[in-house]
């Protein structure tokens, strides 16, 4: 499963990339900016992990840009953020995020958390036929 990780913090990019790769994901990283949207268009990831607080464009602006682009609009987005008050999380979910992962995350559990959140969304769409390019990999 291909993931695009977008975070302006090089420490987080290094650790999360390693943790997710160890968990079996194919991870591409981006330091942010609208270049991240171009990467997503090219990569066609199965999900985007998006930092919330970044220099402009921040995570919400990138989320909107991904949603506005036909090539990336259907890609589930998981926010990765240290802003995890219930109201903040609820606002992100209401906006259309598939899930929210709290920072600081446990690197040993990050992969499971990503799978859990993506599977939760997939259950809501279980009546859909599997995508042919899916490769049969289960969430």
């Amino acid at each position: 499963m291909k993931l695009l990780l977008v975070d302006d913090d090089p420490d987080i990019r290094l650790l999360a990339r390693h943790a997710l790769a160890q968990a079996g994901f194919e991870v591409t990283v981006s330091a942010g900016g609208y270049a991240a949207v171009a990467v997503a268009r090219e990569l066609k990831p199965d999900a985007v992990l998006l930092d919330l607080l970044m220099p402009s464009p921040d995570g919400l602006e990138l989320f909107d840009a991904l949603a506005a682009d036909a090539a990336t609009a259907g890609v589930p987005v998981l926010f990765l953020t240290a802003k995890t008050q219930p109201a903040e999380v609820a606002a992100l979910l209401a906006r259309g995020a598939r899930g929210v992962i709290a920072k600081p995350f446990d690197p040993l559990r990050l992969g499971d958390e990503v799978r859990r959140l993506l599977a939760g969304g997939a259950r809501a769409h279980r009546d859909r036929p599997p995508e042919p390019e899916d490769g049969g990999e289960l969430l």
């Binding site: 913090d9 987080i12 290094l14 650790l15 240290a82 920072k103 690197p107």
Partner: protein, 102 residues
């Protein structure tokens, strides 16, 4: 994840320099110093525990949440934690330092 501890320790040295510069800016009344300090603290809060340095996340969160009166002490505590780690203290000693300064 111990293999990343040395990497993060080096990263914290750079962040310590940034924080010390921001602390001087704050004293000098530089506009946006507080906002930049909050951004730096937010990043440290979000990464410290993931790398095994819980004390960094906790001290950084205290800075982020500090009112104007509490900020100098919270900032001094965060700087102390980062200095301990930069000086080579293992994660658990930095933790003890943070608890001693709370």
């Amino acid at each position: 994840m111990n293999r990343f501890e040395a990497y993060y320790r080096r990263s914290l040295k750079r962040r310590l320099e940034e924080l010390e510069a921001l602390a001087r800016d704050l004293e000098d009344g530089v506009p946006r110093a507080r906002a930049e300090l909050d951004e730096a603290a937010h990043a440290l809060k979000g990464s410290g525990r993931s790398f095994g340095f819980d004390a960094v996340s906790r001290a950084a969160e205290a800075v982020e949440q500090a009112g104007e009166d509490e900020l100098p002490a919270a900032l001094a505590a965060l700087v102390a934690v980062l200095r301990e780690i930069a000086a080579g203290a293992p994660a658990d000693e930095a933790q003890a330092e943070a608890e001693a300064t709370r």
